[in-house]
């Protein structure tokens, strides 16, 4: 597998599944949010997760961060299963995995000062004395490009970009190994988005972080990721390194997703593949290949048999007829 062979896996996700059961007046309904996804994240890399809304990318992030328990499958962090750990082991692992949330307006408690918000993880894990913590927070504020004397201010005094910086500071204060970024820039203006992307890039180089970067904007994912997993309806359609994905997509879904991305160049003529219809409901997924209802290469076998994961060179793809 080329370069990635030499790398040390930090996180291994194996056949992860998550069902949500809702009980309504018309009986039980099961939504299969995750349907057996597998991927490996190596130390120091950025793994991008893309897909349309409802494809399960946020659920994947939440399960990896132990915010919700999976229905089946394993998440191995440094070789240990997160969901078989004892309480003390778990608490230690939680320090190593942190999350940056999507909406910087909703993810900060409006009644806490930003100093307290960033300090809270240290308090929970009983690290340092009050003064040490304060120093640490101030250093972190500076590191993410905010002034240390903002310590006593409240979230409403900050703009979206600054709040996202606060969210990043809170995630990094415990020196985590893995940071899950759940659409960290999609709520921001473009001019601020590039500042945050650059900050994430710098922090990764400086602190040797590993990122799982969840997004629906392909150009952002391409920019920041080393490897990318494309999700569709709770399944992984394709996992490959970023270069190859954008040059030669193997899964018809990836191809359609790429062609739907608007290119900021009026002279760029492209063959757009318009996907018909909407993403099917996860409570009632189609039989066979999940994508067959919208796939333009669909054949009889796609309607009947679920495609296996195939390894082609560096990539893993789930399709009966991968594109050459």
């Amino acid at each position: 597998m080329g370069d990635s062979d030499k790398k040390i896996p930090l996180l291994e996700v194996k056949d992860l599944g998550k069902d949500f059961v809702s009980k309504g007046s018309r009986g039980k309904k099961t939504v299969h949010a995750l349907n057996g996804i597998s991927f490996t994240v190596y130390q120091g890399e950025t793994f991008g997760l893309v897909g349309e809304s409802g494809c399960g990318k946020t659920t994947a992030g939440r399960v990896i961060n132990c915010l919700t328990k999976p229905t089946r499958g394993q998440v191995l962090f440094e070789g240990k299963d997160l969901f078989q750990m004892s309480k003390t082991e778990m608490k230690k692992a939680r320090r190593e995995i942190q999350m940056i949330f999507q909406d910087p307006f909703a993810s900060l408690d409006p009644r806490m000062t930003i100093g307290k918000i960033i300090e809270e993880p240290l308090v929970i894990h009983r690290i340092g004395s009050g003064n040490e913590r304060r120093e640490k927070v101030k250093k972190m504020l500076e590191r993410v490009g905010l002034q240390p004397d903002y310590y006593n201010r409240y979230p409403h005094e900050f703009s979206g970009g600054q709040r996202q910086r606060i969210g990043i500071a809170r995630a990094l204060i415990l020196n985590p190994k893995l940071v899950i970024c759940d659409e960290p820039v999609s709520a921001l203006d473009v001019s601020v988005q590039s500042q945050i992307l650059n900050l994430l890039d710098d922090l990764q180089k400086e602190l040797g972080l590993t990122y799982i970067f969840i997004a629906h904007g392909l150009s952002v994912v391409k920019h920041i990721s080393d490897r990318v997993g494309v999700m569709y309806l709770g399944k992984m359609a394709e996992v490959v390194n970023a270069e190859q994905l954008f040059e030669k997509p193997a899964h018809p879904y990836t191809q359609a997703l790429l062609s739907a991305n608007p290119i900021p160049d009026p002279d760029f003529v492209k063959q757009r593949i318009i996907l018909e219809g909407d993403i099917p409901s996860a409570s009632n997924p189609p039989a066979g290949c999940y994508f067959h209802t919208r796939c333009r290469y669909c054949k009889q076998i796609c309607r009947e048999k679920e495609p296996p994961y195939r390894q082609i060179g560096d990539r893993i793809v789930a399709c009966h007829f991968p594109l050459e």
């Binding site: 349309e52 809304s53 703009s159 970009g161 600054q162 203006d189 473009v190 001019s191 601020v192 988005q193 590039s194 500042q195 992307l197 650059n198 890039d201 629906h216 904007g217 392909l218 150009s219 952002v220 391409k222 920019h223 920041i224 970023a242 954008f246 359609a256 997703l257 062609s259 739907a260 991305n261 608007p262 290119i263 900021p264 160049d265 009026p266 002279d267 760029f268 757009r272 318009i274 996907l275 909407d278 993403i279």
Partner: protein, 331 residues
């Protein structure tokens, strides 16, 4: 070319007890018949307030149209009475809103909402309105339109709701369609469907569209002409090719450079600082605190408008291409 809409020196301010917020401050532009004009800008640049002003939907108070003209086919919309406006809204000028999730009424069926416009403006009978509504739904690509008419907004997906919004906006065959970020809340694949649909309908119905967006990729795809807004003002107005090939305003250039490109993984260029909130605009040129080329003059005086070729730019030191740069001593 015939001008359909002409906005002259529009100022829409909001008055609160302790401050005045100049959300739109001296905006002028025009739309020719049959073209698509895009307004680009970040949050707080005044693009939505501009479009709401055209529809006269800015809540007054606290808002007030302080000065300016909005000429639609030569008549000033701002001088119309409320009842005259009711005859215009949804009929001659209609609007598609950003959030397909919240802009439909949850307690009425799709059909009722579609027929309402037709019955009010075109005085159709119930039967005629129903027929027209079904036709509109099939026009925007909704399958099985008869049964969809009886469904409620929560039964439809985001893309479908936006299609219903478009059907509603187009049902009275308006002369001008204002689309305020119609695809921002949608997935890329659905966005591609909707943009495609709008382009097709524009050709079929010969519509004029005012398209508001912050996504330059969408601009490249939809627009014939573009205006770039910053801080409640128009900083640049140009043909779509000119905007991308020869941006004249430093802000336009900055916006273009900070989009992550699919073809390279270089460090992104940034526009330093943040988007100012409308009550804290800088003196002089409003962009000067973030502008890499700002000089002392920019902090003092408001920049004049100048024409460079077909581009109208509001800057003391507009950018020049390399060839022109030799002549002007800077690039």
């Amino acid at each position: 070319m015939e001008k359909l809409l002409e906005v002259n020196d529009l100022r829409t301010y909001f008055f609160t007890p302790d401050k005045t917020i100049p959300a739109v401050d001296g905006v002028s532009f025009h739309i020719n018949k049959g073209e698509t004009l895009c307004i680009v800008g970040e949050s707080g640049s005044g693009k939505s307030v501009t479009s709401l002003s055209v529809m006269q939907l800015v809540p007054t108070p606290p808002g007030k149209y302080v000065s300016g003209q909005i000429l639609f086919e030569g008549e000033d919309i701002l001088k119309k009475t409320e009842s005259e406006m009711c005859g215009i809204r949804g009929n001659i000028i209609s609007m598609i809103y950003q959030e397909p999730m919240t802009s439909l009424n949850p307690v009425f069926s799709i059909g009722d909402q579609l027929m309402e416009t037709l019955r009010i403006h075109q005085k159709l009978t119930k039967k005629e309105a129903q027929k027209k509504a079904v036709h509109m739904l099939s026009l925007v690509g909704i399958s099985d339109p008869e049964s969809r008419m009886r469904e409620y907004p929560h039964q439809l997906s985001g893309g479908m709701r936006q299609r219903v919004m478009i059907a509603m906006g187009l049902s009275c065959e308006p002369k001008l369609l204002i689309a305020d970020e119609p695809t921002t809340a949608l997935d890329v694949t659905i966005q591609a469907q909707i943009l495609d649909l709008m382009k097709k309908l524009k050709q079929e119905l010969d519509m004029t569209i005012l398209f508001i967006t912050h996504d330059l990729g969408v601009v490249a795809e939809m627009a014939q002409r573009v205006i770039v807004m910053y801080g409640g003002r128009v900083v640049e107005e140009a043909e779509v090719r000119e905007i991308f090939k020869n941006p004249r305003h430093p802000y336009t250039l900055g916006l273009l450079k900070c989009i992550p490109r699919m073809d390279s993984r270089q460090k992104l260029e940034v526009i330093k600082g943040m988007v100012p909130s409308p009550d804290q605009f800088a003196k002089g040129c409003r962009f000067h605190p973030r502008c890499p080329y700002a000089k002392e003059l920019c902090t003092r005086e408001e920049p004049p408008q100048q024409m460079i070729g077909t581009t109208r730019v509001t800057c003391h030191f507009p950018l020049h291409t390399e060839k022109e740069g030799e002549r002007n001593g800077r690039q």
